[in-house]
């Protein structure tokens, strides 16, 4: 199972931790939890990236 957070607030490590949460269900087969974004967005900035002059 994969768990994807809509706001990219969780790391891959967190996601893997969550994946093991429903071990009995995931053992049976495909079980993918997907959260859409809560708002419209363009491509997000790369990690650590910001817009020059925009961020304080």
């Amino acid at each position: 199972m994969k768990n994807t957070n809509s706001e990219n607030q969780i790391t891959r490590k967190d996601a893997i931790k969550k994946m093991s949460k429903y071990a009995a269900l995931t053992a049976i087969g495909t079980f993918v939890i997907l959260n859409p974004k809560q708002a419209q967005a363009s491509s997000p900035p790369d990690p650590g990236g910001g817009l020059p002059g925009i961020e304080d």
Binding site: K2, T4, N5, S6, K21, Y22, A23, A24, L25, I28, G29, T30, F31, V32, I33, L34, N35, P36, K37, Q38, A39, Q40, A41, S42, S43, P44, P45, D46, G49, G50, L51, P52, G53, I54, E55, D56
Partner: protein
């Protein structure tokens, strides 16, 4: 308790996969028909824990411990799937700047849009993508946007009405909201009529469209421009809206952003590529050029049906290939990258629309291979 935690929609999308949709959290779960049947059994109000476990032992050849574990997992999963995280809202009053802004007008068919940017830096958030629609400033506009910054917040106003405020590090949400509002203006509609806005580029042959998805840096935009140079039309770059009435994808008239690495590869195909301004985008840690459409906006259709999605991956280490892939593979990328309306009727329309989508993955490093495969896709 079961009723409040149950998925609102349970829909099979093919022989193998079922989608569960939870209304409270707007969460999708792609799973097997076995899971779906187990969850339906669990949700049956007449079913107790003991009878559920007994059913699994008899029909699924599981032991008591395994059957209890599944019951516990479903209980935990359903409870978590309906949990909604609280949102912080910005309550303080915001005033639109009345002077010192940079004003620019744009024309999209018959619509004149004027934007007042608080500063040149704020202007970089949306102007480069729509520069090709610039006209001389026109006070007789149809819509006025204000985009400005106070402290650590970016604000978007439309005709003096507050549309949204975003932390500066979340500027891509302001860009997304602006894209939606501009789409509303151009297509004369409002947010309540959109089923979804996908993080995708969409290509058309004038009759139908194919959506390109993939992680940032996978080569979607570069491929879009290559396809445009070979006679296809870019319906949308990066932002693809799906309309509720006809379940078609609607045009978003932004220029296509390409990164430094693609400049040389595209030079033979795009006239005067060198003359287009280069924007240094620290957010993406790369230089970017915006390629405007070759054909005029007015000469192109506003919307098209789509029944193919291609997951694009530029990868020089693998053999070029175009293969059909599972719905699950596409949904894993499509859903978390996109906004999907939380309204039940829209969730249902999204699932029904997706049921008819053919799913592909393109691995390519040879441009000619990718172009020929897209020609095939459109001819099928």
């Amino acid at each position: 308790m079961k009723a409040t935690t149950s998925p609102k929609l349970i829909k099979a999308i093919n022989d193998d996969n079922v989608i569960l949709w939870f209304e409270n959290s707007n969460r999708y779960v792609v799973t097997s028909s076995t899971h779906s049947n187990l969850i339906k059994l669990y949700m049956n109000p007449d079913e107790s824990r003991d009878s559920f476990v007994s059913h699994l032992e008899q029909n699924f050849h599981l032991n008591t411990s395994e059957s209890n574990a599944i019951f516990d997992d479903i209980t935990l999963f359903l409870n978590e799937s309906t949990h909604v995280e609280s949102k912080n809202s910005l309550l303080k009053e915001i005033s639109v700047p009345t002077e010192g802004y940079i004003e620019q007008s744009y024309k999209f068919s018959d619509n004149i849009v004027t934007i007042r940017y608080e500063s040149a830096i704020v202007q970089t958030l949306v102007h480069p993508q729509i520069t090709h629609h610039c006209i001389d400033n026109n006070s007789n506009y149809d819509v006025l946007f204000d985009i400005f910054k106070t402290d650590d917040d970016l604000h978007l106003f439309k005709d003096g009405i507050h549309i949204g405020s975003y932390k500066t590090h979340s500027f891509h949400f302001l860009q997304g909201k602006f894209a939606l509002e501009l789409t509303n203006t151009i297509h004369n509609t409002n947010i309540n009529n959109w089923v979804a806005t996908f993080h995708a580029s969409t290509i058309s042959n004038g009759k139908e469209s194919v959506m390109l998805i993939g992680d940032s840096g996978n080569g979607k935009s570069t491929l879009s421009v290559l396809l445009m140079a070979h006679g296809f039309d870019i319906l949308c770059d990066d932002f693809t809206p799906l309309y509720e009435d006809d379940l078609q994808l609607y045009r978003y008239p932004a220029a296509t952003s390409i990164k430094t690495g693609a400049f040389e590869a595209l030079k033979p195909y795009i006239e005067n590529l060198d003359l287009l301004p280069t924007h240094t985008n620290i957010a993406k840690r790369v230089d970017i050029k915006y390629i405007p459409p070759i054909l005029s906006y007015d000469s192109q259709v506003p919307s098209l049906p789509c029944n193919k999605i291609v997951y694009v991956k530029y990868d020089a280490t693998k053999h070029d290939s175009l293969n059909q892939v599972s719905a699950e593979k596409i949904l894993e990328t499509l859903i978390p990258d996109s906004w999907i309306s939380p309204i039940e009727s829209h969730a249902l329309k999204f699932i029904d629309w997706f049921k008819n989508i053919e799913c592909y993955q393109l691995n390519y490093s040879d441009n000619n291979f990718a172009i020929s495969k897209f020609k095939d896709l459109f001819e099928e």
